[in-house]
């Protein structure tokens, strides 16, 4: 079953990839969707088995074949389906199915329709390998694989050179992270002699005489990988650019699934992180910095997808804060809810873009709520969910993060709260500018704007429902002991006596007094309210339109230009490397190494010409040379 679950999407990819060209678009699209949906069904069944039936082992393990066996280096091509994987799998296949469906309509007019579905299926396959692999190398397989699919899909519209550039940027930044991850893997193997999660954690847990310094190093190296995949400082700049891809891609890969792989990795390696407070601290501060910075940049973006992209980066930062604080459940919880509402938002924005005939600039929109009621409604729900409207999914997950941050360090809590607050500002800004006010586009008439077809709105509705009720998976304690903490219990399952818990070190319940809890809640809600009121006042009541980038000044300009990070990277890394390539290629290699070698040749030729001069054709000289030769020989021999 497990194998089937993983390989169904691959089958979809192969079928679409080979036969797709000859299939009608509808079949091709539904084929892809069905493959993912099949996986989802199997995953759901397996999940039920796993949690419902106590006789089942704590994980389903399947070894397909030995991938590499060299001396004592041994890696199996094997999968495991445990509780953490299950959650991730459900998100991936579930949201994946919805987005596939959505894409059938969204991509309907595209030439590369079948290709698109093939890529999406391939992505799902790789993502499943990532989360279902039973060892770090399998994770790395999926890790690289999703990076590749991301590359393929960002650059899906290959005729556009900028899109291609964005795709490459995404892939390369991911690879930088991958290198760190790879080094981390080597260090793991060096230290523990295996890649299998179970064996590694057993050894880590047994504290097999390895110093925490080694674990810290492993944790940090793994985190470099996570930085790349989950778009953390300093490797985050690819994600906003990745919006070049079709919108369903952004929803699936760059919001719901792939970018959370970093979170998954850290949760998976909890045993290691648990031993390294330093690494956790690093994770937390980087998450925090990323969160705030991305949120600030989001304030001044005018591309609807860019705003969402920076929002994603910011939310991922929040998750890392949770991880850094040791609140793994909270992080995973936010992963889930974020998957719901961010996918919703992206799909909603896709619907807007679709309705606006591929216009992405919010300044060209306005007043869309009348033309696109379903989109408007679902988008509103998404916005509310992400900004933390009470009792929507985002409210619970975000609060849990904030609370764990508070328990860890009030300063962190404060900063995280700021970040969460800014979320409200930019989200409502975008929302109001897009859907309220007056229509501002000059190219397309207002009458040409239309609501999306059912195939697109249906997933929106489903996701909207999920965004509302998603909090149910891990309700806080104050809502009642019996219904709360579902996810927490899931992850804290002790393995039923066998050794395979998800979290080695069971999380302590956050010991906060109810007053403090309520206080925190109030603070969070009030920040939300302030943001809502301010933006509503500015963009709806006053009808302000964000000014163009050129008109920005001061801090606004800095924000609009994303803190000039891309430019700084260009100056600091890209240009020097390219310059070095030129210098090495044109001077060191061509003139230096080759010149040195050719020097022997020209040297020989020089001597050759010299010898030709000696051979001047005059016999008298020859005779003299000869006699000198004789004389020297005699002198050399006789004395």
């Amino acid at each position: 079953m497990l194998t089937l679950m993983i390989f169904l999407p691959l089958l979809g990819f192969v079928l679409n990839g080979t036969l797709g060209k000859f299939l009608p678009k509808a079949i091709s699209g539904w084929l892809g969707t069905a493959a993912v949906f099949g996986s989802f069904v199997i995953a759901l069944m397996s999940f039920m088995d796993l949690t419902g039936d106590t006789t089942m082992p704590e994980r389903i393990y399947t070894k397909l074949f030995t991938f590499l066996h060299v001396g004592n280096f041994h890696v199996d091509f094997a999968f495991q389906f445990d509780r953490l994987s299950a959650v991730m799998t459900l998100i991936i296949t579930g949201i994946g199915t919805l987005i596939h469906m959505y894409s059938i309509a969204y991509m309907h007019e595209d030439d590369g329709f079948y290709k698109f579905f093939a890529y999406l299926n391939l992505f799902i396959f790789n993502m499943l390998v990532l989360v279902l692999g039973s060892n770090y190398l399998m994770l790395f397989f999926g890790w690289e694989g999703v990076g590749l699919c991301s590359y393929l899909l960002i650059g899906f519209w290959y005729k556009n050179v900028d899109f291609g550039k964005a795709a490459r940027k995404a892939f390369i930044m991911n690879r930088i992270g991958d290198l760190g991850l790879l080094m981390g893997l080597f260090l793991i193997y060096d230290t523990y002699g295996t890649f299998e999660y179970q064996d590694v954690f057993k050894l880590v847990f047994a504290g097999s005489a390895e110093s925490n310094a080694v674990n810290t190093a492993i944790a940090l190296l793994l985190f470099i990988g996570a930085m790349g995949k989950s778009a953390q400082i300093p490797l985050y700049t690819w994600l906003p650019d990745a919006m070049a891809g079709p919108t369903p891609v952004s929803a699936l890969i760059h919001a719901a699934t792939m970018v959370t792989a970093g979170i998954y990795l850290v949760i998976r390696s909890e045993a290691i992180y648990a031993l390294s407070p330093i690494a956790r601290e690093v994770v937390m501060w980087i998450g925090l910095a990323t969160s705030i910075m991305a949120a600030l940049i989001g304030l001044k973006q005018n591309d609807i997808k860019k705003v969402l992209a920076y929002s994603t980066v910011s939310q991922l930062g929040l998750m890392f804060i949770a991880l850094g604080c040791g609140a793994y459940t909270a992080a995973l919880f936010h992963v889930i809810t974020h998957a719901f509402f961010k996918a919703l938002l992206f799909l909603g924005s896709g619907s807007v873009i679709h309705g606006m005939h591929h216009e992405q600039d919010i300044r060209q929109m306005g007043g869309l709520r009348k033309k696109m009621p379903i989109t408007y409604l679902t988008f509103l729900i998404g916005t509310l969910a992400i900004t933390g409207f009470p009792f929507l999914s985002g409210f619970f997950s975000k609060d849990e993060i904030l609370m764990s941050a508070f328990a860890h360090n009030p300063l962190v809590f404060g900063l995280a709260l700021v970040s969460a607050g800014i979320t409200g500002f930019y989200m409502f800004r975008m929302f109001f500018v897009t859907f309220h006010g007056t229509y501002r586009n000059t190219h397309h008439g207002y009458d040409k704007v239309h609501e999306s077809p059912l195939l697109m709105t249906l997933p929106l509705l489903v996701l909207a429902v999920l965004s509302v009720i998603g909090g149910a998976v891990n309700l806080p304690q104050y809502l009642g002991e019996s219904i709360s903490g579902g996810l927490h219990h899931l992850l804290s399952y002790d393995g039923g006596g066998q050794f395979s818990p998800i979290l080695m070190y069971p999380e302590h319940a956050i010991e906060l007094s109810h007053t403090a809890e309520i206080g925190l809640l109030v603070m969070a809600v009030s920040v939300f309210v302030i943001a809502f009121l301010y933006t509503r006042n500015k963009y709806v009541t006053q009808g302000a339109v964000p000014e163009s980038d050129e008109a920005q000044a001061g801090m606004g300009k800095v924000l609009a230009n994303k803190f000039y990070v891309d430019e700084a990277y260009d100056t600091a890394f890209v240009s020097p490397i390219e310059a070095a390539g030129d210098v090495v290629g044109n001077y060191v290699d061509d003139k230096g190494v080759k010149g040195f070698v050719d020097g022997f040749g020209s040297g020989s030729n020089f001597i050759s010409r010299l010898l030709s001069k000696i051979q001047n054709g005059n016999i008298e000289y020859y005779l003299v040379y000869m006699v000198i030769g004789v004389a020297l020989l005699l002198a050399f021999n006789l004395f």
């Binding site: 010409r609 016999i619 021999n637 006789l638």
Partner: protein, 461 residues
Amino acid sequence: MIALFVTFFSAVALLFLGLNKKESNYSVFAAISLFASAGLSWACSANLMSFGILESWVPANMMLFGKEQHLFSALLAFIVGLIILMFRKNEIIGNDQLGLMMFSLCGAYMMVSYQHLVMLFLGIEVLSIPLFVLAGASKNNLASNEAALKYFLMGAFSTGIFLLGTAFIYGGTGSLELEMMGIKPSFMHAMEGMPLPVLINAGIVLMSVGLLFKVAAAPFHFWAPDVYEGSPNRTTLYMATIVKIAAFVAFYRFLNTFAGIADAWKGWISVLGGLTILWGNIAALNQTSVKRTLAFSSIAHAGYLVMFLLMADGTNTWILWFYGLAYALASVLVFSIANQLSVSTGKKDFSAFNGLAKRSPIVGVALVVGVLSMAGIPVSAGFNAKFYLFSFAWQHMPWLVGIGLLGSAISVGYYFKFFKHAFMQESEERMPMVDRGWLLLLASLILLLGAMPWAVLNGIF
């Protein structure tokens, strides 16, 4: 001895035949008689035949007729036969010239089988004097005249030096016989540890200079490029192969008598060998004329063969034999192609080879085989020859082998000029090639010697 007889009398016969029909071409007759000489000599070496009557006439201390001598005679006769055969069409060659070439070959026979310095001296002169004439045989060609004069003057001069050395040796050892000469110095050296008498030492040096001049080793090689370039192609080829092989055999036999005092000459001879290798190869790099390039190449080959002199323990003559055969086959092949091309295009530089591969792929392949063999690249006779030579010389003078390898590497630089022009350049001119079958046969012979040398050597030695 039988080879000498057959060669001499067929030469005389040729001269007489020439009296009757002046314009006839007797190359085929000459070639057949030379092949017959070679065959008979080989038969003697393999004990299939014996000409004891002829050989018993020769006093034992004058000439030696062992297996090696027969084989070398056979080799020399075979090569000259080949040269005459390959050049029979391109230049009209009078019977007098053929006769002279065969007379000269008689000198070469003497040089490989001498036991007395008189025979060596006579051999050298019989070899050289016809060659002075042959070098100037194209009388209307100023280059040929110049070559003849240069060769003659320098040859006579080196003869003088050679003779002075002979006189010193005579005075020092009291004998002119090969077997007697070495006894005294070896004895002195071994028993008393005395310094070598100046007479002997100087004698060895001066005689060696005379022989080194003949093989064109640096710094006594200056005549060679000029003379090779100026002489008619056939003569050049003859000089580059026969003279060299004969002189090396003579040299080897000479030094072999002084094997007991090898320390006295090994050093400087190997230095000269190294100098020759480098000089020949480097100087060839910059040449534009094909013949001159090949001349320097032959100088370089002389340098490699100097290695052979260093292992003067009398057991490895087969290496020289094989090297001579390999080198001669390749030279004949390349020279005859170059000759045909320069005749048909009128060019003396490499551009004569332009477009050869396209016009005549068979000749192109033959050229490739010949040149690769000269450069010593497997699978070719040249590689095996060099391999045998280098691997045996290593024990005697490793650094010289190193220089030899370096020289081989440099040599690629000019050998591949042939390919550059034959394969990369286009040509408008038509180049009728004759004797393609023969060329291919030669090439296959080279390949055969390259692919299964041991079988061939086992059959012969």
